[in-house]
């Protein structure tokens, strides 16, 4: 199947055979694809290779046959995006998250939209943590693992703004005693559901909650980027 002018981002590239790269691309209409870019590791293909770096909006032409696609052409579909500093580390986290949680050739157009909107936001002063939590929430939603953030999963009652909750993956928030470790305020969960930025303490608790949920969907695995981000942030 020939695919033309497909909006895409390169998530990762690894050397493949003598002179080629095997790219993991997030495409809008075909989900994540393994794409072979032939000959781009040759010296004279330096320009082509530079274009295949992560975070750049591309329009790509492909031939998809079986498990892997072959790259026929790639051109920029917008200004090159630079993610300096922590934004770059956060971008690598986004890419690891997408590759680890999605299968190849499993299309999720809302995920593509969320990814494309999140990248430029990583550079904004609004706060990296909040940007990442929103992306994680939208990613899970797009993959059909959406969070339940409106009622107590045990009692069925609406969340109490001032109540304390623990979030159980694939179940939802359940009431816990005040002062329980890793507890979340009902108000912060509701804010998260309504896309309002919670308090700093709420954001920190949401980070822990999202890690638990992501770990659950990874089958208990860890993301390498968590260690990278932890190291970068701990030196503030």
């Amino acid at each position: 199947m020939r695919i033309e002018q497909q909006p895409a981002y390169v998530l990762h590239a690894r050397p493949y055979r003598e002179t080629s790269l095997l790219l993991e691309c997030l495409t809008r209409d075909h989900g994540r694809l393994g794409v072979v870019a032939r000959g781009v590791r040759r010296e004279r293909a330096r320009l082509q290779r530079a274009q295949l770096e992560p975070f750049q909006p591309l329009a790509i032409d492909l031939m998809l046959r079986g498990e892997l696609a072959t790259l026929l052409g790639a051109e920029p579909a917008g200004l090159p995006l630079r993610l300096p500093g922590d934004a770059g580390l956060a971008g690598l986290y986004l890419n690891e998250l997408v590759v680890r949680l999605t299968g190849r050739q499993d299309p999720h157009p809302p995920l593509y939209e969320a990814y494309a909107q999140t990248l430029p936001q990583l550079c904004m002063p609004a706060g990296l943590g909040w940007t990442l939590r929103r992306f994680e929430r939208d990613l899970l939603d797009a993959l059909g693992y959406g969070l339940q953030l409106s009622f107590d999963a045990d009692s069925g009652e609406s969340l109490d703004e001032d109540g304390d909750y623990l979030y159980r993956a694939e179940h939802g928030p359940v009431r816990c005693a005040p002062g329980t470790a890793r507890a979340l305020r009902g108000g912060d969960l509701l804010a998260f559901a309504q896309d309002r930025k919670p308090s700093a303490a709420g954001l920190a608790a949401l980070r822990g909650m999202m890690r638990e949920v992501i770990r659950f969907h990874l089958g208990g695995g860890e993301l390498r980027a968590w260690r990278v981000l932890a190291g970068a942030v701990s030196r503030r």
Binding site: E53, L92, R224, R227
Partner: protein, 200 residues
């Protein structure tokens, strides 16, 4: 192989691990060694055997070395106040050959790349932090590649340096010498434009 020699077939297959060597070149090399260079072929085999078995990594800079501490780290001829961090031994060799740099090195043997399983531990960053903490180094030159992963690594390293009270610097990158703007890729041009220098 149609020659009926399993050893020859093994040799040809083994030679194919070299970069740029396919089946045809491997066969040419094997025939060449057997027909004309037996003596030197044996030397090659011996050198290969020794190198593969005995070359490890320097405990200070992680570059290739058969001693626990390599000659460059152990010697007294280099400036101990400057440390240059590179991704690979190849990059170290390139800097040695192209510049008059006289300081020390640290080789990451990779770059931060979560999807390749490369994080701070794999790059020996605790070891690097320890070295910065010794107090001798004043400047850390970050010479990772100008790729997305190389830049992210540079940012991480800069934080590590600042935490250790060391001044981080970064190789400049921009338009290649002898290049014309028209033919420079957009990313490089944007970067060169952004980091333009005053001519005053």
């Amino acid at each position: 192989m149609s020659s009926g020699s399993p050893l020859l077939a093994d040799l040809i297959e083994a030679l194919r691990c070299l970069p740029g060597v396919g089946g045809k070149s491997a066969q040419r090399m094997a025939f060449h060694l057997l027909e004309r260079e037996r003596e030197r072929g044996l030397k090659l085999a011996a050198a290969m055997e020794q190198a593969m078995r005995r070359i490890g990594n320097c405990t200070r800079c992680r570059n290739f070395s058969e001693e626990p501490v390599c000659a460059l780290c152990a010697g007294t001829g280099r400036d101990r106040h400057v440390l240059c961090v590179v991704e690979s031994p190849t990059d170290l060799a390139a800097i040695e050959q192209a510049t008059g740099y006289r300081g020390q090195y640290f080789v990451l043997l990779g770059r931060l790349s979560p999807l390749d399983g490369l994080g701070p531990d794999e790059l020996g960053l605790a070891q690097l932090a320890e070295r910065l903490g010794e107090g001798e180094i004043e400047e850390m030159i970050i010479a990772t590649n100008p790729t997305v992963e190389g830049e992210a690594t540079a940012h991480y390293l800069a934080q590590l340096a600042r935490a250790g009270g060391v001044k981080p610097t970064r190789l400049a990158h921009g338009v290649p010498l002898g290049g014309e703007l028209e033919f420079v890729d957009r990313g490089t041009l944007a970067h060169a434009f952004g980091s333009r220098q005053s001519l005053e």
